[in-house]
Symmetry: C2
Subunit: 202 residues, 2 copies
DNA sequence: CGTGAGTTTGACCAGATGGTCAAATCAAGA
DNA sequence: TCTTGATTTGACCATCTGGTCAAACTCACG
C-alpha cells in the first residue's frame, strides 16, 4: 500500500478505475455475487495489483458506497424551504427520476444493499439519511400547515417519491419486459408529474 | 432421488421444510449469497440429505420462484372488469400492500432477482407477467375510455402500484430507519389510498 | 418379523475465491 | 545516470462451496 502522502497520478487513475469497475460489478451481482477477479479484470488490473490499492473486497465496497451516498442524497438536499412548494417538490422528483435514468447502477448498488438488510450501511441510514429526511419533512409539514400543499404524511410522501422514481432503475428488466420497445422514462415522467400535481394540490 | 410416484409423508415434510428455509435464506442474501449449507441447516437437514430432495441449489431456487409466482400475481388476477373501477383498483392496491406486510420475504426474493437483471426468471416476465399485465391494462383503458377513472398511462399506473406497495417490504430497513418505532403500514395504507383516490378521480 | 424401497450421513472431491508475498519492473527526482 | 520508492505480478495458500458416493439406517407393509 502506498504511503499516506498526496496520491500519485497512477494512484488516482487506478483507484478511479477500480471504483468504476466495482460499481459495474457490485450493482449487477450484489456484494456476495461479485468477485475480486471480476472487478480486477474490468478495471484492467491483476488481482494482486487491485489489492495493492484497496486492502480487501469489503474496503472497495465501503469506499464505493460512502463515496456515492452524497451524490445519491444531493437532490433532496436541494429542496429549498424558500422556493415555491409545488415547484420545489416537482423538481426534486424530476431530479430523482433523472438520476434513475442516468445513474441506474448507483441506484441498483443501493437497492442490492437495502434489500438484503443494509448490513454495511445501516448506520448511515439511521444517522445521515434520517437527519436529512427529518430536516426536509419539517419543511414539507410547514408547507402543509400554510395550506400550500395538501396535508399528507410527510415521511410517506418522501417514500413514495423514492419508490416511484427508483423503481425504473432498480426493476428495469421488469419494466422493459412489459413495455417492450417503449422508452420507460418517456411515459414515466408525465405520469409521475401528473400524479404529484393531483396529490399535492390542496 | 425418490421415484416419481406419489410423494411420501417424509418427502412432503422435507420438501416443504427446504423451500421454507430456502425462502428465508435466498430472500435475505440473494441467490449467490445463499449457501446450500445454510439452507440445509435452517431446514434441519444435512447438506447431502437436502441434495437428495433437490438436485442442486439452482433447482431449489427455481422451484421456489415458480411456486411463488402464482401467489405473487394472484392479486392482479383478481382485478375484475365487471366491478366498480375505483373500488376494484383500490382493493387491488390493498391486497398488494397486505402482501408486502404479510409476505415480505417473498417480495424480497423477487426483488433480489429483479435488481440483478432477473437472470433466472426473465422468461416468466416476458411471457406470463406481460400477458397478465396486458390483459389487465386493457380493462384499465376501457375504464378510462368510459370516463370511470382518470386517463393515465395504464402501464405506468400498474408500475406505480407495484413500486409503492413493494417498497415497504423490499426496503424495509430504510423505512424503519427513518420512521423509528412507527408502524410503516399504519401510515402507508391511508397515504396510498388517498394518493390513488386523488389520482384516479377523473 | 423380514425385506426392499426410501432416507440419512460421514468422508470426500474439484473448483472458486479472498488474500499473501517475495521478487521483478517502473518512474521520477537528485 | 542512479537511486529509491511506487507499482506490478506469478506463484501460492487456506477456506469455502456445490456436489458426489457408498455405506448405513429407517420405515412401511406383506
Amino acid at each position: 500500500m502506498p504511503k499516506d502522502r498526496a496520491p500519485t497520478r497512477i494512484q488516482k487513475k487506478n483507484r478511479a478505475a477500480i471504483l468504476e469497475a466495482a460499481l459495474n460489478v457490485f450493482s449487477a451481482h450484489g456484494f456476495r455475487g461479485a468477485t475480486v477477479d471480476q472487478i480486477a479484470a474490468e478495471a484492467g488490473l491483476s488481482k494482486p495489483n487491485l489489492l495493492y490499492y484497496f486492502p480487501s473486497k469489503e474496503a472497495i465496497h465501503t469506499a464505493l458506497l460512502s463515496g456515492l451516498l452524497d451524490t445519491w442524497l444531493a437532490p433532496l438536499h436541494e429542496l429549498d424551504a424558500d422556493g415555491d412548494p409545488m415547484e420545489e417538490i416537482l423538481s426534486y422528483i424530476r431530479r430523482k427520476l433523472q438520476m434513475s435514468r442516468e445513474l441506474p447502477r448507483e441506484s441498483r448498488l443501493f437497492a442490492n444493499e437495502l434489500v438484503q438488510g443494509a448490513p454495511r450501511i445501516h448506520e448511515a441510514l439511521s444517522n445521515d439519511l434520517k437527519a436529512l429526511v427529518d430536516d426536509k419533512t419539517t419543511i414539507l409539514t410547514q408547507w402543509m400547515d400554510e395550506g400550500k400543499i395538501a396535508r399528507l404524511h410527510p415521511y410517506h410522501l418522501i417514500f413514495s417519491i423514492w419508490a416511484l422514481t427508483q423503481h425504473y432503475a432498480d426493476f428495469d428488466v421488469q419494466v422493459r419486459a412489459i413495455l417492450g420497445n417503449e422508452d420507460p422514462f418517456a411515459g414515466a415522467e408525465p405520469f409521475i408529474d401528473t400524479l404529484y400535481r393531483k396529490l399535492l394540490t390542496p
